[in-house]
């Protein structure tokens, strides 16, 4: 039997109950949220279950929501079942004052560099990561450039008219 989004959702809810929330299927991709303490348990379950078998970490990144007080940073995991060719995505939220999230490196080796990149740009502290240091930016950098409080462009420039760029 083909693995459908409904089966995945049902299995997750059977296992974790109310801990997993906000199920939706934008563009047909199952998306949900989990508490940040449970990110490893959810991933381990998705990995170990013979029917689910999400054994490939496609992408790991973060999003900054400055208005979402107490839960400013979201860490997004994209998982792939290579047998059934099904993808899912789930997010965990963390406060920006204490951005500690458990590392996924024990489960997926590919998480190593992706977590370093996420740390580099958003400052998410992956607890238990073997080598959590900057990967793309210079080591001397003392801020996390993709956070929203860091301005994208010089605000005083007048030669870049938004109309000319279709914005």
């Amino acid at each position: 039997m083909a693995l459908t989004n409904d089966i995945i959702q049902q299995k997750l809810q059977e296992k974790f109950g109310d801990a997993v929330t906000n199920f939706s299927q934008p563009y047909g991709m199952l998306t949900f949220e989990a508490p940040k303490e449970m990110n490893l348990k959810v991933m381990q379950f998705l990995y170990d279950d013979d029917q689910l078998a999400f054994r490939f970490l496609t992408d790991l990144c973060a999003v900054h929501f400055p208005d979402n007080k107490g839960n400013e940073l979201a860490v997004v995991y994209h998982l792939h079942n290579l047998v059934e060719n099904v993808r899912i995505r789930f997010r965990v939220f963390t406060s920006i004052d204490q951005p500690d999230v458990f590392t996924a490196t024990q489960l997926f080796s590919s998480a190593n560099w992706q977590e370093r990149e996420t740390y580099d740009f958003y400052g998410v502290n992956f607890v238990g990561h073997p080598n959590l240091k900057r990967i793309l930016n210079v080591d001397e950098m003392d801020y996390f450039p993709m956070r929203k409080e860091f301005p994208l462009e010089d605000q005083v420039r007048i030669d870049k008219d938004d109309e000319m760029f279709g914005r």
Partner: protein, 185 residues
């Protein structure tokens, strides 16, 4: 004047003078001029491309544009054998120390060409980001700037010829500044 004529005109002169004698010719001239003439006609570029300008540089090197016509054909993969570095692309903060080290490893005399908007000023797209050096001349001194995004191969050839002219002139930086100020007045 036709550009080709112009190039022929400025490249034809041998720096010295040949004095004919019954048993053959004698070359005379200022030693510096002859050295500069020789140097300008055999500039070995360093293969160094950090982004899309590199594609134009490869095009300039290959059959259609062929910068070996002007003496640039011996592209070197090591700075220790190169005379000129063409900065073809964006220099990011992490690349800046590498660029400086490459420049330091090149033997004197050495020349620098900043190719394209990124190498001149940080670029049209990445101008104000967290990672880009706003002009390669913050890191190493530049002899010739070529605008463009990316510059066409003809523009790169033009800049290479301009560099040859500059070398043949044999002026110091101070002399160039003085004379360019004088010509403006």
């Amino acid at each position: 004047m036709d550009v080709r004529e112009q190039i022929k005109e400025s490249n034809k002169d041998f720096a010295g003078q040949i004095i004919e004698t019954p048993t053959g010719g004698i070359i005379s001239g200022t030693f510096d001029d002859i050295v500069n003439w020789a140097r300008s006609n055999s500039l070995w570029p360093l293969t160094f491309a950090t982004s899309c300008c590199g594609i134009e540089m490869m095009s300039t090197a290959s059959a259609k544009y062929d910068f070996s016509r002007f003496g640039f054909e011996v592209a070197r993969a090591t700075p220790r054998q190169a005379d000129v570095i063409i900065i073809a692309g964006t220099i990011v903060n992490k690349m800046a120390p590498v660029l400086k080290r490459l420049y330091d490893q090149m033997p004197d005399p050495k020349y620098v060409i900043a190719m394209g908007a990124c190498a001149i000023s940080g670029g049209p797209f990445f101008y104000n980001t967290y990672s880009v050096v706003k002009g390669a001349d913050h890191v190493i001194p530049v002899d010739v700037y070529i605008p463009g995004c990316p510059p066409r191969p003809e523009a790169l050839l033009h800049s290479l010829i301009a560099l040859q002219e500059k070398i043949k002139l044999g002026w110091t930086r101070a002399q160039i500044r003085e004379n360019s100020l004088a010509s403006k007045v």
